[in-house]
């Protein structure tokens, strides 16, 4: 039995080694942060989620879409139904065609997807010096060590070392692969005013918006982990009972 466990561990270790970043020559590994949604019992801090959404809405959403999210999803952040209706109504969305065959503008509803800042990729590139701001719906899952990486990126802008020659319109960020990123430092202290009085430092805004993005990428995380704890506890009891039954069945075999 011990052999099997050791083998499983060895295989898991081999897999882990295989999943490490393929090359060290790329970007610097982002430092590990402690996240409330990490670990077996991890949950999202509702206040941080709401502050993070505030940052996304006021800062990131100027360039970055979140196409996979609908306003109704914001209920999970702790907003009431009326608050969600209010947030959705702040946006004008195109609907139609109506009975005359024309498209028309109307106020957003909770069932609408987040309104994208640009009509299409070409429009986004035209407005951003040729660069395309990626959709943020899955950002935390779509990068190695996602949450740590995005936090390091948002807070990691610094003047370029003398050896680096920046291309026109680019900014230096050692956490970005290649070190040169088109996005200017997005967060400035007090860029937003939080309703709960939390001081809007760059680090605070970054942590909050990363928490919001982590929720957006894995909205099932809390349900998943809570169900997982129950499933594992059930399986432990079941397996112990099966082991006892096995011992008893085999007691007479020599």
């Amino acid at each position: 039995m011990r052999k099997i466990v050791l083998t499983a561990l060895a295989v898991a270790a081999a897999c882990f080694a295989g999943s490490l970043p393929a090359s060290s020559s790329e970007a610097i590994k982002p430092p590990s942060q402690s996240w409330g949604f990490g670990g077996i019992f991890g949950t999202f801090d509702r206040a941080a989620l709401q502050r993070g959404f505030h940052v996304y809405k006021d800062v990131c959403a100027a360039c970055h879409s979140m196409n996979l999210l609908a306003y109704r999803n914001l209920r999970a952040l702790g907003f009431s139904e009326d608050e969600v209706k209010g947030i959705a109504a702040e946006y004008e969305v195109t609907d139609g065609p109506n009975d005359e065959g024309n498209m028309f503008q109307r106020a957003g509803r909770p069932s609408d997807r987040f309104k994208a800042p640009f009509a299409n990729e070409k429009a986004a590139r035209a407005a951003n010096n040729g660069a395309f701001p990626p959709d943020l719906s899955l950002m935390i899952k779509a990068r190695p060590s996602g949450a740590n990486y995005v936090h390091a990126l948002l807070t990691g802008y610094e003047p370029p070392p003398p050896s680096v020659k920046l291309m026109e319109g680019m900014n230096y960020n050692k956490f970005f692969p290649g070190g040169q990123i088109a996005m200017a430092p997005p967060l400035n202290a007090d860029a937003v005013t939080f309703g709960d009085g939390t001081p809007a430092t760059v680090a605070q805004m970054s942590k909050d918006v990363v928490t919001f993005l982590a929720w957006a990428a894995e909205p099932e995380l809390e349900v998943r982990k809570q169900m997982g704890v129950k499933v594992i506890l059930f399986l432990i009891v079941l397996t112990i009972m099966l082991y006892a039954a096995k011992r008893r069945t085999w007691a007479g075999v020599h």
């Binding site: 393929a22 692969p177 082991y243 096995k246």
Partner: protein, 416 residues
Amino acid sequence: MSAPQSQNALIRWIDHRMPIFTFMHHELHEYPAPKNLSYWWNFGSLAGIVLVIMIVTGIWLAMHYTPHVDYAFQSVERIMRDVNYGWLIRYLHMNGASMFFLVVYIHLFRGMYYGSYKYPRELLWILGVVILLLMMATAFMGYVLPWGQMSFWGATVITNLFSAIPLFGDPIVTWLWGGFSVDNATLNRFFSLHYLLPFLIVGVVFLHLWALHRFGSNNPIGIDTKGPQDSIPFHPYYTIKDAFGTGVFLLVFAGFVFFAPNFFGEPDNYIPANPLVTPAHIVPEWYLLPFYAILRAIPDKLTGVIAMFGSILLLMALPWLDTSRVRSATYRPIYKQFFWVFVVDCLVLGYIGANPPEGWFIVIGRIATAYYFIHLLIIIPLLGKLERPLELPASISTPVIGSGAAQPQAARMEKP
């Protein structure tokens, strides 16, 4: 032997006309199994259980999935977000694939260690390799379906391998794609085949079991059962042992599904497929990495492709490459050491496959590839001739070496 007469008239009526209950009683209840099977023998039935989990979760995923380049990625995200417990079904299916290969690789190495492929189980072994090939094809096509970056570029790299075929290479690739690049037609046919192949696997699994039940399981000592004192009925002894093993397995499986569901995945596959942007490193799923390493170890494309497919097909010849008449490595002191070297070699190949082909990785990859073939083609045939195996016990019930009655059992395994 027939089933004990059932009290139920309907069962008696059916069984008289089609003896399915007698058959089930014979193959699942009475079926004699060696009494000394270790936990390494759990992995066969475990693989069967994972296959069922994969088919059931797959059927439910297919109810919500859309095989179209414009909607595939979105439909998978819809499953993750809006379908009730869709995330659970998808993570079970996704991690189930990794678990399937983990279990099957342990099953395969167990067969190699205990010589389970030797007479009279050659065909059983060959059918196993056929299952492995079908699994690889199924897993590869399944990985393409979410239509993320790694799906698209993995499909491009692997289908392009066929362009190495002389003369007909390019037309064959065009035919596989259903167009001039990996596109909607490719995605559609991969979905169709990904749904079909698992049922072929089920068919070959039945043949695998049929061949198994002809002579029964091999065992850790590797000698045949000599009579009723050496065997026990499959039920209840191995049903309960397999059930306990399944409990342990499900704990590991659930650990990944609920707490690290993307552990085996690539972050790049959460970026929608983009034919204009190539990822920095295109890597297949972990279970294909050793073969990917063999492919890249050889500078010539055609030779590399042949080596990669050959490395799997060669396993089918193992019963004839191995000239030793002793099955179990327990009684083969030298082979036992080479076996573990081979296991390490396969892990090294996996590690190399995950890394870019540059610097020392190339050198190590070539040495490990060469050793893979040297082990199968040179070491195994030679060892059978040169190695002096330990004395085998007289029977499973008396596994004490040198107990007077012990005699070389190898002579009993002569080929007909």
